[in-house]
């Protein structure tokens, strides 16, 4: 049995970022992911915000990694070719009494190292920045360094780059048991046993389960559900910045934000639940987020909702990132409690985890490390001449499959055949946006299913929405008659 240097549990942003940073070194590493693809947990269902960094407690690891991640994001987005836009954010304050709270956020931000924060009290100036803010606004904290990102592309890009640089990935592999063995750890999984000198526990809402297998000092992760509504691109410019409410003890509150693809996102709620698998939205949750969002932004065009979804934050009792070697469990590195600002911090988290491992295992740099990754080519970014040259060479780029987002067959083929390629409808969706538009895959899904079956040599009956039991078609006409 191969003894890996490092096994990373979880291919979300934290695990994938760690894998990518680790792949700078000569190392035998493997990522074990229980779902069928990367980015299947919290990483695919969040606000997609790159936070400025004034929320986290001063001196906390969250604050430090938030600000670092924010600073790293621009360059990383160019290196790994994922969409990122520094659109700025406004925390909105609705009454004079709450202004001290706004000031406190500002001051904390400054102490955390956030640049260019300003408090704006001039109502007119606030409305010039954001005409659709409520008329009740008393003041706003403006953070120009905040931004929006595509969480799927970021996660996928990090994982792909790690894979290209030699990190192995195993999907549909659920870790069930972790035991100390000589020289490292043994992981029993649903697809077999693995051994590694070091383990990185980046298992999201399940990170407490694995930590508690190796340590008596227990941690406790509560899945904190966030429901969201996504609005059509025609509503995408209702606000230009990310609009936050003043935070409360449950978190940053409901926000309204443009997405990096031009939609409008409203949410999340913050509802503590028990079931770590329960990503179902509820009527109460959706109603709550709609009414709360409406307090800060007026005339929200809720008739333009095209879909709603929910994600689970991995909220640890201490409300702080837990990143480091677990006491008494040598070689077991926690990367747990990665709730907001987890997405923002991911680049910095990866670096921190990689550094811990580098030191621990005395890893040497890999001279062949390729830090640049080219994403899936979007032909809409080409001129007509360039586009036609591409179509002459690869006619699949002349065949539009997803009408709402104008995604071509060429892009879908790329998504399937690149490293860690898509194997399901959602895998294609997250990589290409096919199925994310206003008809929500009504038009393109039969076509995408055909392409997946053809390219992967799979039967149509085995094509799934998102792996596992999510089969799309169950039989042929009259087969039960």
């Amino acid at each position: 049995m191969t003894m890996y240097d490092v096994i990373i549990i979880g291919a979300g942003v934290a695990g994938s970022s760690s894998a990518r940073e680790l792949s700078r070194y000569q190392v035998r590493a493997c990522v074990l992911e229980k779902d069928e693809d990367v980015c299947c947990g919290t990483s695919k269902a969040n606000s997609a915000i790159v936070h400025a960094g004034y929320d986290a407690d001063e001196g906390s690891l969250m604050a430090k990694l938030n600000v670092q991640g924010n600073q790293m994001m621009e360059e990383l987005s160019k290196e790994l070719d994922f969409p990122f836009k520094r659109c700025g954010s406004l925390v909105v304050c609705l009454s004079q009494e709450d202004l001290p709270g706004l000031q406190a956020l500002h001051d904390r931000g400054v102490k955390n190292g956030v640049k260019d924060l300003q408090i704006i009290l001039d109502k007119e100036k606030i409305h010039q920045l954001e005409p659709n803010l409520t008329d009740e606004v008393a003041g706003a904290l403006y953070a120009p360094t905040a931004g929006i990102v595509c969480p799927f592309n970021m996660n996928i890009a990090m994982a792909e780059n790690a894979c290209t640089n030699g990190v192995e990935f195993r999907f549909n592999t659920e870790v069930q048991k972790i035991q100390k063995i000589a020289g490292g750890w043994q992981l029993t999984t649903s697809t077999g046993t693995y051994e590694a000198r070091c383990v990185v526990n980046a298992a999201g809402v399940y990170a407490d389960r694995f930590h508690n297998m190796v340590s008596d000092k227990k941690i406790h992760i509560t899945p904190r559900r966030g429901d969201y509504c996504l609005l059509d691109k025609s509503a995408g410019r209702h606000v230009e910045h990310t609009i936050f409410a003043l935070p409360n003890k449950y978190g940053k509150g409901v926000l309204v934000t443009p997405t990096v693809h031009g939609n409008l996102l409203v949410g999340p709620t913050a509802i503590d639940i028990e079931d770590k698998e329960s990503t179902a939205t509820t009527r109460e949750g959706l109603d709550e987020l709609i009414s709360k969002a409406g307090m800060n932004v007026k005339n929200l065009p809720m008739r333009q909702v095209i879909t709603s979804f929910a994600g689970l934050r991995a909220h640890e009792d201490g409300h702080e990132f837990i990143i480091g070697e677990v006491e008494g469990a040598e070689g077991f590195i926690d990367c747990a409690g990665i709730e907001s600002p987890g997405l923002t911090s991911a680049p910095a988290i990866g670096k921190m985890v990689a550094e811990i491992l580098r030191e621990k295992l005395d890893l040497q740099p890999d001279p062949d490390f390729q830090g640049t990754r080219k994403g899936i080519l979007n032909p809409a970014t080409l001129t007509m001449e360039e586009r036609n040259a591409l179509i002459r060479e690869k006619p699949a780029y002349g065949n539009i499959i997803c009408r709402c987002e104008m995604v071509t067959e060429g892009e879908i083929l790329d998504a399937i055949h690149r490293p860690l390629g898509a194997r399901s409808l959602d895998g294609v969706k997250r990589r290409t946006r096919a199925g994310m538009g206003r008809c929500q895959a009504g038009f393109c899904s039969p076509r995408t299913m055909e392409i997946l079956a053809r390219e992967l040599g799979m039967s149509m009956f085995d094509i799934t929405k998102s792996g596992g039991a999510s089969r799309l078609v169950v039989g042929t006409n009259k087969d039960q008659i």
């Binding site: 042929t476 006409n477 009259k478 008659i481």
Partner: protein, 119 residues
């Protein structure tokens, strides 16, 4: 005397019809706005019939399925026999509108014909 209320399906107007029956025989039909309604009402209460439409697998064609229908209506009670009889039927391309796919389907005396061209 029995009174039955039905909706005429002869055309999309869907006139509400009332049929009076005595001992299984139609005494009167009211509510129709054309002759078809009268004909339909009488038929529907004594010997209801339907056109059945379905699909059949195509081999070696530009499409995987071809749509088919009973050339005329068949007894309503035979709908499932008709569908069952189509279960493993396949047809080789080319298929033209009107081609007989299964003659005398389920012993109704009515042919099952193609309603689409598949080359």
């Amino acid at each position: 005397m029995e009174k039955r209320e039905l909706i005429c399906i002869g055309c999309p107007m869907g006139c509400p019809l009332t049929v009076e029956l005595e001992g299984g025989e139609v005494i009167s039909v009211t509510g129709h706005t054309c002759k078809r309604g009268d004909v339909y009402a009488r038929k529907e209460v004594t010997n209801p019939t339907r056109i059945v439409t379905s699909t059949v697998k195509v081999l070696e064609g530009k499409a995987d399925m071809v749509s088919v229908k009973t050339r005329e209506d068949i007894p309503k009670g035979k709908i499932f026999d008709c569908v069952r009889a189509l279960k493993d039927v396949t047809v080789k391309a080319p298929v033209h509108i009107g081609d007989v796919i299964v003659p005398d389907i389920a012993g109704t005396g009515v042919d099952m014909v193609a309603t689409k061209q598949v080359l």
